[in-house]
């Protein structure tokens, strides 16, 4: 061992000796490490003093660090540090930054918001986020809608109305599409077939003219379809009855120029089973009134399908 232990002669040893010459060194810890270790101790003591740390009985040491914030009602509160208080402060600061804009959203009429360049920029960016988080799941990310599920919001066809007020009412209270099966009347298959042909003929789609004539009578008679969809088939936005005279279809998979028998079958399926779906949830609890107003302008003007009064 004469070669290897030259260094250990300078180092301190524990004093234990095994086998006559095997010693155990006690080299001191590197100074940087030792000081880093002392620092962590000092850090943790500082932390205990400043932040909630030790449980004591039914409570805990709350620390000297405080957070001051104003809640939604404008009441200023100071409390010990906690992530919940930190969030309240964070939200308050964000609210104050957005306040000038949301104050304007609340105060300005819809048309004025849409015309004001600065406000429409705000609506476009804030509305996009709100739409993606809340609306896109059903209406799809481009608001193009989905067949037999949720309507397209970009076109100018509206089930419940496309004015500012109607859109706001739709978002606030939600919607639920209802159409009684077979018009609530006891229509047989032949009659439903005739009706389907008539409904297709309303929008100038290919249909059997003879059946459509029979369907016309059923529409305005036994089937009582006119009571919701109107005598002219143009629908009624107050109760969400669709306009049947355009070529926009939400529930029936009618393809313009597609095979007539498939189109008839698609319309028949809807008449036969009726509708008890097309549910849009009410957003009033989840979104604030200002957010709903902002989304209304977003849908009406940024997506661009809104209709004039």
């Amino acid at each position: 061992m004469s070669q290897g232990n030259t260094q250990s002669q300078n180092a301190q040893t524990t004093g234990h000796v095994w086998d006559g010459d095997l010693e155990e060194c006690t080299n001191p810890l590197p100074a940087w490490w030792l000081w880093a270790f002392y620092f962590t101790i000092i850090f943790s003591i500082t932390y205990w003093v400043m932040y909630p740390a030790w449980p004591v009985g039914k409570g805990f040491t709350t620390g000297t660090s405080t957070i001051t914030y104003k809640n939604d009602k404008g009441v200023e509160k100071t409390t010990h540090w906690s992530t919940r208080a930190l969030l309240a402060q964070d939200l308050q600061q964000a609210r104050e930054k957005q306040k000038p804009y949301f104050d304007k959203v609340a105060a300005m009429p819809f048309e004025a918001i849409a015309k004001d360049p600065q406000m429409s920029n705000f609506v476009a960016s804030a509305g996009k986020v709100l739409f993606s988080d809340n609306c896109a799941a059903c209406h799809m990310s481009g608001a193009q809608g989905k067949l037999a599920f949720a309507p397209n919001l970009v076109d100018d066809d509206w089930i419940y109305g496309g004015t500012y007020d109607k859109i706001q009412a739709t978002i606030t209270g939600g919607r639920h599409g209802i159409m009684p099966a077979k018009g609530g009347a006891d229509l047989n298959d032949g009659e439903i077939d005739s009706l389907a042909n008539y409904v297709l003929s309303l929008s100038g789609s290919q249909a059997d003219a003879a059946k459509a004539t029979v369907g016309n009578e059923l529409f305005h008679g036994k089937g009582a379809c006119f009571s919701c969809h109107g005598a002219d088939g143009k629908g009624n936005q107050d109760i969400g009855a669709a306009n049947l005279t355009d070529k926009i279809w939400l529930w029936a998979d009618v393809k313009a120029g597609g095979p007539a028998d498939k189109n008839v079958a698609a319309v028949k399926a809807v008449i036969t089973s009726g509708l008890n779906k097309g549910v849009m949830p009410a957003w009033t609890g989840r979104l604030s009134a200002d957010q709903i107003k902002l989304l209304t302008v977003y849908v009406h003007d940024v997506l661009g399908g809104g209709s004039k009064k």
């Binding site: 449980p55 039914k58 409570g59 208080a85 799941a137």
Partner: protein, 250 residues
């Protein structure tokens, strides 16, 4: 003093002592929470009714299927108190909101979005469509399809499942006294749903009136899962509280 040599030469003893030493680290973090007032927030209506209630029989079956299908592997149920999360998902989760969850579904992995407040956000139709074929409504989704949820729900053992949770302290009732207690704590309507002897009847009734899968006639697993999803995060009515009402509990 214990002779160190004895510990080092006796592996069994060392194992036990190591485990004790490590568990102290866990215990000092966990045990105080059982004693600190406000760990689990008290959330009551002005009339003194608890807002957070145990799951109904149908919702409980839905939760079991949620666990069976491993939904927790991609979805958390814990909205943390950060601005971005509260903007996207809603009010941060309260401890009280998962007090009847055994085991809780907080999770820490979000491949999909947090579901703590997904209840009532979408329609039943959307939930059904999305569970059967997620990409038909969210094209960029990577969630698997769950078409087999449209199969009939096994309702035979729902009472046993509730009884098992009862042993962990969830106030499902068996006796009249427990039932009456639930009426006091949760109101009569909820108390009925928590009564184990009526579990199967309640389950079928809720599935048929709720039409969660769009079909009143049969009771499917879809009914249960959608009923569960639609109740998530909806029990506490935050409109009854200031936005900082729950700060004082931390």
């Amino acid at each position: 003093m214990i002779d160190h040599g004895k510990i080092e030469k006796n592996l069994g003893l060392m194992l036990v002592l190591v485990m004790i030493a490590i568990s102290i680290g866990g215990l000092v973090e966990v045990v105080p929470l059982f004693f600190i007032k406000g760990t689990v927030e008290e959330v009551k209506t002005p009339e003194g009714i608890n807002m957070v209630r145990p799951y109904s029989a149908l919702e409980l079956r839905g939760r079991d299927i949620y666990i069976r299908e491993g939904c927790y592997l991609c979805h958390s149920q814990m909205i943390r108190p950060f601005r971005d999360e509260s903007m996207r998902y809603g009010h941060y989760s309260l401890a009280a909101e998962s007090k009847y969850d055994h085991p809780f579904q907080w999770g820490s992995k979000r491949t999909g979005p947090d579901l703590a407040r997904v209840g009532k956000k979408y329609s039943n139709e959307w939930q059904v469509q999305h569970l059967i074929a997620p990409r038909s409504v969210v094209p960029e989704s990577v969630m698997p399809n769950y078409p087999w949820l449209m199969s009939p729900l096994d309702t035979s053992d729902v009472g046993d499942r509730m009884a098992a949770l009862r042993t962990t302290g969830v106030p499902y009732s068996v006796s009249k006294a427990e039932y009456d207690n639930n009426v006091k704590d949760f109101g009569a309507d909820v108390a009925k749903q928590l009564h184990i002897p009526d579990a199967k009847k309640n389950l079928i009734e809720q599935a048929q009136t709720g039409k969660y899968d769009g079909n009143a006639a049969d009771v499917t697993e879809m009914d249960a899962v959608v009923a569960y999803l639609q109740v998530l995060g909806t029990m506490v009515d935050f409109s009854k509280f200031d936005n900082d009402s729950f700060v004082k509990f931390r």
